[in-house]
Each structure stands twice: as structure tokens, then as C-alpha cells.
């Protein structure tokens, strides 16, 4: 049977991809951010997951407003990165796991999550930057199942809905009959706002509360509406709803293995969290 070995949340800011491409990890601006990642890389080396379910949001690479699903799951043999328009280098494809993808899709739809299914799916920086942070050096040691969540076009799925999707995802993983070792990775956040006169908004107090509650009491975060999250975390800070999908897939009780928080990376408060299910 498949085993969920852990859950990781990480920010996915495009500037990180540029910093990696330019070898700036030890630059004074970047060092305090990248310093958060070695413990998670070491954990991945020890734990050796072979599949990653990656919960992320597309920023207008694969999906446009002509056809924008709330939840979309990849079921492709591989996932291609492509030009996003502003200069990030295009990276080599990522292997998929269609059999596992279809198991997850069947299980979720049976539980009344009517997801869109994608046999071709381009993955943007929200997928590729976390991969590069967690497995540096262009390695592809895991197969991926991308789960895209709409955070572009309101109405967005609520925090409560995302936590429930996570619960169903956890059951889907647990019911997979193959011997897969699965890590769930959620990307995005924490507080940031790119647009409007309030651009540059960051809310450290709210972020730290979210990190605390994600570990111990994720249900408490479902009391926030999307509008509340925009107000408290910024227009793009709503990406924390994807972290709730990851948390929902984990057991009710978890052990926090690692946490890191750094302000700023570009316009964003960067967060990192690694959880294991409690014994």
C-alpha cells in the first residue's frame, strides 16, 4: 500500500528561480532564505519519497480565463515547463505517474470533488521553483502528480473546501494499492500583495499564526473567508489555501520536523514547513 511519508509547504516566488539560475544562494540577500532548506533536503534524502503530489496555482501558463478550473489534476506521463514571459529559464520536463493520478482522480470524484483532468499540463514557477529548492541540481528523483488550485479568478475555493480536499486526498493516497512512498507538497504564500496601491503588504503576525495553526489546529484557519485572507495576507497571500490542502492530507496529529520563515523574498514573506504524521 502507498504510504504518506510527509508534507511540505514552501513559497514559490519566481525570483527564487532566478537566484538559483544565477547561483546567488550565498549572496547576502538570499542566504537567510536558502538557509532554511538543507534540513528539508536532508529529510528527503533519508525518507526517499518516490512520488510527489504537488498542490500549486497556475499563474497563466497552462490556464487562461477562457477555461479556468477550480481544481485540476494532471494525469500526464510528463509535465513541461515553458516560457512565462518574463525571463525565467525553461526547465527540463518532470516525470508523471498517470496510474497514480487516475487513482487519485477516481477517488476524489467518488468523494464528490469534481476535478478537471489534464493529460497535458504545462507547469509554471509555482511547480518548478519548489522542485528546484527541494531537489537542487536539476534532479528528477520523484514522479509528480500536479494538483492546480484556482487562485486567479474569484470566486476562489474556500479555506474550508481546501482542507476537505486535503482530507479526501489523504484517503486517496492511503487507498492506493501500490508500494508508493508519497510526499505532499503545497506551494505559495505566505503574505504578499503584488497589485494595487497596497502592493508590498506583508503581515508577519498573521503568517506566524497560520504556521502555528497549520501544525496544531488547521480547522481554526477555515473560519477565514477568502475576503478575510485577502485583507489579512494580501491579494496573493490567499495562496495559503493550498497549504491547507497539504495539511488536510496529513493525519489529525502531526509532528513538526522543520519550520523556516523569512522576510522578504522579492515582495513576499517566505515560509517553509515540514510535517510528518504523528505515530
Amino acid at each position: 500500500m502507498a504510504k504518506l511519508v510527509g508534507g511540505i509547504c514552501t513559497s514559490h516566488i519566481p525570483a527564487i528561480g532566478n537566484a538559483i539560475a544565477r547561483g546567488l544562494e550565498h549572496d547576502p540577500y538570499w542566504q537567510p532564505f536558502f538557509a532554511g532548506y538543507p534540513p528539508v533536503r536532508d529529510w528527503l534524502e533519508r525518507t526517499k519519497p518516490d512520488v510527489a503530489v504537488v498542490v500549486y496555482n497556475d499563474h497563466g501558463l497552462n490556464f487562461f480565463l477562457d477555461n479556468l478550473p477550480t481544481f485540476a489534476i494532471g494525469a500526464a506521463p510528463e509535465y513541461h515547463n515553458a516560457d512565462e514571459g518574463w525571463g525565467l529559464p525553461t526547465l527540463a520536463p518532470y516525470p508523471g505517474d498517470p496510474q497514480f493520478s487516475w487513482h487519485i482522480i477516481e477517488s476524489l470524484v467518488a468523494e464528490e470533488f469534481d476535478v478537471a483532468t489534464c493529460q497535458e499540463m504545462k507547469v509554471d514557477h509555482a511547480f518548478t521553483v519548489p522542485h528546484a529548492l527541494l531537489w537542487p541540481g536539476h534532479r528528477r528523483p520523484v514522479k509528480s502528480v500536479p494538483v492546480a488550485v484556482n487562485t486567479v479568478q474569484h470566486p476562489l475555493p474556500t479555506a474550508a473546501r481546501c482542507l476537505k480536499l486535503g482530507h479526501a486526498l489523504g484517503r486517496a493516497i492511503a487507498s492506493y494499492p501500490e508500494n508508493a512512498r508519497v510526499v505532499v507538497i503545497a506551494t505559495g504564500g505566505l503574505s504578499h500583495q503584488l497589485d494595487g496601491e497596497r502592493a508590498g503588504f506583508i503581515n508577519k503576525e498573521f503568517d506566524l499564526m497560520c504556521l502555528e495553526q497549520l501544525v496544531s489546529h488547521p480547522l481554526a484557519l477555515t473560519r477565514y473567508s477568502i475576503h478575510d485572507l485577502v485583507r489579512l495576507a494580501g491579494t496573493q497571500g490567499v495562496e495559503v489555501i493550498m497549504w491547507l490542502v497539504m495539511r488536510g492530507a496529513m493525519a489529525a496529529r502531526v509532528r513538526e520536523v522543520h519550520r523556516h520563515y523569512h522576510i522578504p523574498v522579492s515582495n513576499t514573506a517566505a515560509g517553509l514547513l515540514l510535517l510528518e504524521n504523528a505515530a
Partner: protein, 118 residues
């Protein structure tokens, strides 16, 4: 939609990209989405007027594109994820447009972000 909006508080300096804005901004966002393709970016640079006409931009949108004015583009229904592909043509990243939208210098905008750590 006006009724629904009246029931929630406005967040100062913040645009919720809802159905109304997405409807208003569809042509603009569609043009900006096309800038994922380098050939389209080159075509825009060759003849900006023709490229905007091809996508049927409104006069308000055309003027905001001409001025590279992000706040005006947002008001015209632009979504920042697509607009970033437009500003990227001129080498402007999210910190540059953050400075533009807040009326700050780039250095002052970066300092403000660093200050959020305290």
C-alpha cells in the same frame, strides 16, 4: 454583483479580480496572456497599435497600455498575473511595478519590504 459587493468591506488599495473585473478585462488579459510566446512579444514591440487592435482593447485599456500604468490597467480589468507578462517585455519585475503603484522609488519600496520583518 453590486449587491454582493456592498455586503463586504472594501480593502483599501486592493482589487478583487471577480467576475465583473474579469469580464471587463478579458481582451486585455487575453493579449497579455499571449505574451507567454516570444514571437508575440516581438510582434507587439514591432507595432503596438496593431497588436492592441487585434485583441480589441477598449480605449481605456489601450491608453493604460500606452502609459505602462499598472493601476490604470488594474482598473481596466487587468489581472496582475497577466499584466506581469506585459511589464516583463520592458524588463519590469514585481518590485518595479510595486514601486510604480505605490508611488515610491524602487529603493524605498524594497526598504519597506525589509521593514516588514521587524
Amino acid at each position: 454583483m453590486a449587491t454582493a459587493r456592498a455586503t463586504i468591506d472594501e480593502i483599501p488599495g486592493t482589487y478583487i479580480f471577480d467576475g465583473a473585473l474579469a469580464t471587463k478585462g478579458y481582451a486585455l488579459n487575453k493579449m497579455c496572456y499571449s505574451f507567454n510566446d516570444a514571437a508575440n512579444r516581438a510582434e507587439f514591440k514591432r507595432d503596438e497599435d496593431a497588436y492592441c487592435a487585434k485583441f480589441g482593447l477598449s480605449a481605456e485599456q489601450r491608453e493604460a497600455i500606452r502609459k505602462r500604468d499598472v493601476l490604470a490597467l488594474l482598473a481596466a480589468g487587468g489581472n496582475v498575473y497577466y499584466l506581469a507578462k506585459f511589464t516583463g517585455i520592458f524588463g519590469l519585475g514585481v518590485q518595479d511595478i510595486g514601486a510604480q503603484q505605490t508611488g515610491m522609488s524602487l529603493a524605498a519600496f524594497k526598504d519597506k519590504l525589509k521593514g516588514a520583518a521587524n
